[in-house]
């Protein structure tokens, strides 16, 4: 199934990049959200996907048998989700502040 997800990741990336290149700050926020989802999906699918077998070591066993999902990308994504959320919260608060101060959200206008 990985090739399919590769295409989906590509679509998400394209959408995210397009939004990041816009001049409206709110569109930048949308781009940011899409980009972090795309990146997470990329990391998840990179080592290969295994359906429906979470990484829980069963009672009595010492190690997990073969044929399970890779735990490392999951740990990375977990961190990424949370950090991405923090960044987004900050960005939105900043954007709101900017709007209250100058009543404009055009990136090119904010330069001056």
């Amino acid at each position: 199934m990985e090739p399919f997800w590769a295409v989906i990741v590509g679509v998400l990336f394209a959408a995210a990049v397009y939004m990041l290149l816009r001049r409206h700050l709110a569109k930048l926020a949308i781009g940011l959200i899409l980009l972090s989802n795309a990146a997470n999906l990329l990391i998840l699918s990179a080592p290969g996907l295994v359906r429906g077998r979470p990484d829980f070591v069963p009672e009595g066993a010492q190690v997990l048998g073969p044929g399970h999902a890779d735990p490392l990308p999951q740990a990375l994504i977990l961190t990424a989700i949370v950090i991405g959320f923090g960044v987004l919260a900050f960005f939105l608060a900043l954007m709101r502040r900017v709007f209250l101060e100058v009543s404009d959200l055009d990136v090119e206008m904010l330069k001056e």
């Binding site: 399919f4 959408a15 816009r22 899409l34 999906l41 010492q62 977990l78 709101r96 502040r97 709007f99």
Partner: protein, 764 residues
């Protein structure tokens, strides 16, 4: 051990200098001078055994695998330089206290100066090429700080930067040379010197050129000479010490040190005599016609540095003995002359030769210093200046008529310079000066007087110096040099040359007023002066940097991002191409659940892009997030699914709560920009897809997940491996993550506070 303590002792006394300076504001110069004087005493105590052929050694292994050790090796040459550094250093420390007076940065001055003394001792006593280089750089940095001591003046700052740039550029080249040399002959000085030399090594010429680059920039040889006159922006004691008596001689020291390894070849002779000769003639004839007293001394210093390099180029027993004696003689007359200039500047408020006149009665003791020192500089018997000049001429007569001519021409200029700097300000009728002059305080004339008298008496009793100069010259050549010097050699060619130099010098002094317009005129002809080239390069560098910055650093976010993304595509494409081009045949079996989820996600993402209002986008983004959560669930990433649901709910809430007041999207971009952005973003998406497909076909190293799987239950007692990784194996990462979140939360609170529309809720 004692040796180590004494050499780097200045670094420790520098630490307690602020305490000493505030406790004993009047006496701190004397107290601080104890350290260098202790070094001198220690060296003098061991001098008989060192000159007797038993060098002092001290060695600590530092990085044996790199050939790096902290080792000291004091033979005759090192002894001579170390004695000069420590004794003159002590005099300067005492002199500086009244000279700087109530200067607010006095403590800083002393701290840097002491670090410099240690660095100097480190260079001259170093027994290892790499150690030598480290101390060498330290002298450059301290010199930079001291030239720029008057940091509120722009001219001081530019002079300091110029000196630093030129000398470090040279020392960088020198470092390369030392590294090659170390590879070829060993980094320890003793093994290197005891070896066969590198004169017939295949890389001899590159090594020589690189080392010369370092030595010539440090010792201000033409065409790198121009930083030295400008370095006179430093306080006068610094000019006397760093830029005349000690640091600028390091280049000469290095060449002398490496004489057995690199010397006595045709290249060596040509390069050293060529550049040294150009420097000495240029400096010697520019010197007397300067108006600034310190500039006179600076150019004459250049001239002598050229002479020393010239003498090393000639080589041979007489050339080396002349080099050793001239080094000593120059330090003993030039440092006092600088300090005389300092006294005159301090007492009258001006350094202009034209304004200084008839000060003999007002500053009698300073006059005594100036007189004694200039007699040695002119080279009248029985001074050390006379003796060293005789030996130099002897060496020149043994070498070639051309060498005799070059030295004669230079020496005539120096006679005039000595008269201008040391005697002229005291002669004639007094003229009004900015300050009314009176004799300088005792510390400001006593030390210089001792040095100047040293130059006089050691010349008269030159026999006393015999063990020292013979040991130093022998250390340079690594062979016994038994040239014996005395005041009277009989009627020899050098004596007649010397006498004609004096006569010609007298003629130049007598016709000074006629010559000086001519000299000023000649300055207009040299359009391509090295200092101009330096300035041009310096400006061009900044202009170049500004252009590059303008090109790649736009103030528009969109443009910057586009540049980054295109670069990413280009470089990434290169990597893809190197890995064998496009991915091969892809196979997959469709599963409907995934296809539905993925299509939903893609559709929602595209919808969010094209939505007309922010609210619509927010809802569609929520859909993307929940689909993600479902995907995580599907592939067994339970923790991720839970987190994603929580975060996504909050994100949508945040979007709705915070941004619902925002106006509708406006069409801000032009059609052309939109097209460009569309092409760029589709390329990026396509490229990422290709990258993932390719990644699956390239073999990477084995995942480290195996380790986590093996140790999760036995070592960390956790059955949920993802959780164990987060809170145990990579707990510090998680701590960092929490810190980021906390910082973001604080930022959010600060941004939301301070306006009347408090909504909050997004800090969660």
């Amino acid at each position: 051990m004692m040796l180590l303590l004494l050499i780097i002792g200045g670094l420790f006394t520098a630490l307690i200098t602020p305490v000493i300076c505030s406790r004993f504001p009047k006496k701190c110069g004397y107290l601080l001078s104890l350290q260098p004087f202790a070094v001198a005493l220690y060296l003098l105590r061991h001098a008989p055994s060192i000159t007797g052929g038993e060098p002092l050694r001290y060695k600590v292994e530092w990085l044996p695998s790199l050939g790096l050790s902290l080792s000291f090796y004091i033979d005759g040459l090192a002894l001579l330089f170390a004695l000069m550094v420590s004794i003159i250093g002590g005099v300067i420390l005492i002199y500086a206290r009244p000279y700087l007076g109530k200067h607010p940065d006095l403590t800083k001055f002393y701290v840097v100066l002491q670090i410099f003394i240690s660095a100097m001792l480190g260079v001259v006593c170093s027994g290892n090429l790499l150690g030598l280089f480290v101390f060498w750089e330290l002298t450059g940095i301290t010199s930079f700080l001291l030239i720029g001591f008057d940091h509120e003046k722009k001219s001081s700052r530019t002079a300091a930067l110029q000196a630093l740039l030129i000398t470090t550029a040279g020392s960088l080249a020198m470092f390369a040379g030392l590294l090659i040399m170390g590879q070829a002959g060993g980094f320890e000085l003793e093994t290197l010197l005891a070896g066969d030399g590198l004169q017939r090594h295949s890389l001899y010429l590159p090594i020589l050129l690189l080392v010369l680059a370092g030595a010539f920039t440090k010792s201000a040889q033409f065409p790198f000479h121009f930083w030295l006159p400008r370095a006179m922006a430093a306080p006068t004691p610094i000019s006397a010490y760093l830029h005349s008596a000690t640091m600028v001689k390091l280049g000469v020291f290095l060449l002398a040190r490496l004489y057995p390894v690199l010397g006595e070849t045709a290249y060596w002779e040509l390069l050293l005599m060529g550049f040294g000769g150009a420097t000495m003639i240029m400096g010697g004839w520019r010197s007397p016609f300067q108006d600034d007293l310190k500039a006179v001394l600076a150019y004459s210093t250049l001239s002598v540095l050229g002479m020393l390099v010239f003498a090393l180029g000639m080589g041979g027993p007489y050339g080396l003995t002349a080099m050793v004696l001239l080094t000593l003689a120059h330090s003993l007359y030039k440092a006092p002359l600088f300090l005389v200039a300092g006294n005159l500047d301090h007492e009258t408020g001006t350094r202009s030769i034209a304004a200084l006149s008839g000060l003999r009665d007002k500053l009698p003791l300073t006059f005594a210093v100036g007189l004694t020192a200039s007699v040695s500089m002119i080279g009248l018997p029985p001074t050390l200046g006379f003796v060293s000049k005789e030996v130099l001429l002897e060496a020149a007569w043994k070498h070639s008529p051309l060498a005799v001519t070059a030295i004669t021409v230079t020496a005539i200029g120096l006679v005039a310079a000595a008269w201008t700097a040391g005697l002229k300000p005291f002669r004639g009728p007094p003229k009004p000066t900015p300050r009314s002059p009176h004799e300088a305080p005792a510390p400001m004339w006593s030390g210089p007087l001792v040095l100047a008298l040293g130059g006089l008496l050691l010349g008269a009793a030159v026999g006393l110096l015999k063990p020292l100069y013979q040991a130093a010259a022998s250390a340079v050549s690594q062979d016994t040099v038994a040239v014996s010097v005395s005041l009277w050699h009989g009627f020899t060619p050098p004596l007649f040359t010397s006498m004609s130099i004096l006569l010609m010098g007298a003629v130049v002094i007598a016709s000074f007023d006629k010559l000086s317009p001519l000299m000023k005129l000649s300055l207009h002809f040299d359009r391509i002066r090295p200092s101009r080239i330096y300035l041009k390069c310096f400006d061009a560098l900044f202009a170049f940097a500004a252009r590059i910055t303008r090109m790649v650093q736009s103030d528009s976010l969109g443009v910057n991002l586009s540049i980054i993304l295109w670069t990413f595509l280009l470089l990434g494409g290169g990597v893809l191409w190197r890995l064998g081009g496009l991915p091969g045949q892809v196979t997959w079996e469709p599963k409907w659940l995934e296809i539905v989820l993925g299509s939903l996600m893609a559709a929602a993402a595209l919808g969010a892009v094209f939505a007309k209002a922010f609210m619509g986008s927010a809802i569609l983004l929520g859909m993307v997030g929940f689909s993600m959560s479902a995907v995580f669930m599907l592939y067994g990433a339970v923790d991720l699914a839970i987190t994603q649901i929580v975060v996504d709910t909050l994100t949508v809430l945040m979007l709705v709560l915070v941004v619902h007041k925002l106006p509708h999207f406006k069409n801000l971009s032009r059609a052309r920009n939109k097209l460009h952005d569309a092409i760029l973003s589709i390329s990026c998406g396509l490229f990422v897809t290709l990258l993932i497909l390719k990644a699956e076909q390239v073999d990477f190293q084995q995942s480290i997940s195996v380790f986590y799987n093996d140790h999760s239950v036995p070592d960390a007692y956790g059955r949920n491996i993802v959780n164990v990784i987060l809170v145990d194996f990579r707990a510090l990462d998680t701590l960092g993550e929490i810190t980021v979140l906390a910082t973001a939360a604080m930022g959010v609170i600060l941004l939301l506070r301070g306006n009347n529309d408090k909504r909050g809720g997004e800090t969660s």
